[in-house]
Subunit: 449 residues, 2 copies
């Protein structure tokens, strides 16, 4: 394909977990499908001519002044219906949070108008925060799920949208549960075709994803059926895995095997599976996950509230697992993947040092658990791409041009750049720690703003 658009200026990204790359005065050319076709730096042949040609054609977007481009953020775990609850009810015990707040709220999405209004606001908020790719749990409602997918398409956000399957009568409330296993499976199947057939969804920018809420809320027949749908439709899967002591133990009690192993037995662990949390997985679980090529959505913000432990991130990375980050709206309090990065770093430090001052230092934590800002940013961008098996999260030929323009000098910004004291790497670290949506002055998905 031919070049449709060009972007020029400073680009900063993490092509590998331990590598921060700064491309100064680069020219990134994007084809009409939104895919990067070339990246030129001033030293390379044809650079000046290409810049001049793009300027002449009126297809050049420049990062002016102090502005620079970063890859769009990938949020692997969002409960879309819980958006109205973001930043509230976090002081409640989990049982109250779920039964008194969350389930009644999710049940409201039988009302399609309500869904349109909340989901519009959610997608706008996420895009304004630089989240160009979003992986959504919706609710049990097929119609509201289609609404979410359609709004993502309209608003030009890359998205994975999943109707939530939950049919277990013992675990799910009467007012919010699939009418039957059969009906739930039918709704999940039809939701796949609803989304795949959305008018305008030709490039599959919005994908269906099978979504058993988690093992405790599903019957064996439901899990079996969803595994078959995953295979038959070559459809991605998402679910919660070993989030808390309770969930981890529940699955052990029911199946005699771990959450990971049970999901695998139902055919739900594939190269296209996103496992939220996974805080309590052990080494053998990690081996299974690695073998299947599945990925993990690490959600450090909500883990502080509802998990009871910190995800052993370093161990997972060392084992070579695909890992990205999720906000877990509304189990965590923020819609920003920058906040996920900050919290992932802090949680890693706290896991490394331990937290209880009354325990001696050498017994308190787990050595080498920390990650740095470069790894955190990798997780929030290219790491999410690894999990989703999608060419997103880096500035590389063949990758989608999903990008965010950062203005460090924006109004209402806490980002302070000291020219005499700060390197470009410092500026980037400061951005990771201080950027808010005020600093996000442009967002592109597949090259379109």
């Amino acid at each position: 394909m031919t070049t449709a658009q060009c972007f020029a200026g400073r680009f900063i990204h993490t092509p590998a977990p331990d590598q921060l790359q700064v491309l100064e005065q680069a020219l990134v050319s994007v084809d009409s499908a939104g895919v990067i076709v070339s990246i030129l730096t001033p030293q390379q042949d044809g650079y000046s001519q290409s810049v001049a040609a793009a300027r002449e054609a009126g297809t050049l977007t420049r990062a002016e002044g102090e502005c620079f481009f970063i890859p769009g953020l990938v949020d692997l775990h969002i409960h879309a219906p819980q958006f109205p609850q973001l930043g509230k009810a976090l002081h409640l015990p989990l049982e109250d949070w779920l039964q008194r707040c969350t389930f009644p709220l999710e049940a409201r999405y039988s009302d399609v108008e309500f869904a349109v209004s909340v989901y519009s606001s959610l997608i706008d908020t996420l895009l304004a925060n630089g989240t160009t790719s979003a992986v959504y749990f919706s609710t049990i409602h097929r119609e509201a799920t289609a609404v979410l997918a359609e709004l993502c398409l309209q608003k030009h956000q890359r998205a994975w949208v999943g109707r939530v399957a939950m049919d277990d009568q013992g675990q799910c409330p009467d007012y919010y549960r699939d009418a039957s296993t059969e009906q739930g499976l039918l709704d999940s199947e039809q939701s796949i075709t609803d989304i795949r057939n959305l008018p305008g969804n030709t490039a599959a920018r919005v994908q269906a994803i099978l979504t058993p809420r988690f093992i405790p809320s599903c019957t064996d027949a439901m899990l079996q059926g969803l595994g078959e749908l995953a295979r038959r439709y070559d459809c991605p899967v998402q679910t919660h895995c070993s989030e808390s002591d309770w969930e981890h133990q529940y699955v052990l009690d029911r199946f005699g095997v771990s959450d990971t192993e049970a999901l695998d037995q139902f055919g739900l662990l594939t190269r296209q599976t996103v496992l939220a949390h996974s805080n309590f997985i052990g080494s053998s679980d990690m081996s299974v996950i690695k073998q299947r090529g599945s990925g993990i959505a690490h959600c450090p913000m909500s883990n502080a509230y509802f998990a009871g432990a910190v995800f052993p991130l370093r161990k997972a990375l060392t084992m070579g697992l695909n890992v990205g980050l999720g906000t877990d709206i509304s189990g965590g309090p923020s819609a920003s993947q920058f906040d996920s990065c900050r919290c992932a770093i802090a949680a890693g430090r706290m896991l490394e040092s331990g937290v209880d001052a009354s325990v001696s230092a050498d017994q308190r934590g787990i050595a080498d658990s920390r990650i740095d800002y470069i790894e955190a940013f990798y997780l929030a961008t290219a790491g999410g791409g690894d999990v989703l098996n999608s060419p997103i999260g880096k500035f590389e030929t063949g990758y989608h041009f999903d990008a965010v323009m950062i203005d460090p000098a924006a109004d209402n910004s806490n980002l302070q750049f000291f020219e005499q004291l700060d390197s470009t790497e410092d500026l980037f670290q400061k951005t990771l720690y201080a950027a808010t949506r005020s600093n996000i002055v442009g967002v592109w998905v597949d090259g379109a703003k």
Copy 2:
């Protein structure tokens, strides 16, 4: 004194750690010194007349629309000279952070012009984030310390400003240390008079505070001398206390008693003492601190990076200690006390649950360690006032009118209020979790904007 100004609208504050109070359509009258003289609600006699009179006199400020007032935030622990380093170098080991970054940066403040430029930017940033009261470490430099105090006075921020004393030749670098114990004590003493005699500082809005960096960087003679100055000048004191395993153990090795006890022996624990961190204090330390009426600046953000444990906040609160919050710029990555609140809540949850998933749940954490959003906000406002022994942080007669106006619907805000679903308490919790400086549309100290 007579009323000089009035403020009308919704006021939300925490008069006690477990109490969130919403005053709807209240009228707060402030005298010419900036002190609250009355608070009227519509049910009370004279309300309508007072509103009308203020409107007529042109002295009425209203929180319009969705806007509301909260007390100004109190930041108990800020290293002013480290502001250029905020949000960078946090991936480095502590020793590198200190020797390669922090000390060389602090040494630069022998240059007064540099101090003026950085400190102006810092105070502007803090005020824009709603921090109306700030407790500052400056550097060893008397002149730059006076500059900081003068700028606080000019920019109308309530402040405690301390020249840092550090004279131990074994612990402090040659290029950044008091020339001698005598010179250091003289500089600290003169810094008190510098600040107290600042033109325009008649209401003591900016106060001097004696600031031994921490015990390891001071000789016995310095600590002794500072204790005497504290008594002679009735001057507040701040220092670090038992921040890390290393510091805690260092003092035990040097004096055979804990950091707290050693500070007490030097006369440095008074009703006007702010102890930063104090992560490793035990029950007997807490008793001493309580007896002296000293207070603690809990800095959860920097603790995640440099402390090695979580401050036992719940225990300190149960014992009735005065506790507030600090950003610890630049040991923590943010200038916002809202971020301190968020991190204090998350750290409390992580201390309660523990962090290591391989340990059984009942052994992993310390029961009842959590705090909720109301307690966190109390710490960031009235709790700071308790520590400083100052009438700030609440809307009460006799308190300074230090306030922040929040606009939940500001541009670039992540705060989403759903009228059908959210109570005022929910709105407040959402504000605590989502507010950035974009939402801060007005800041008053002593009634002046």
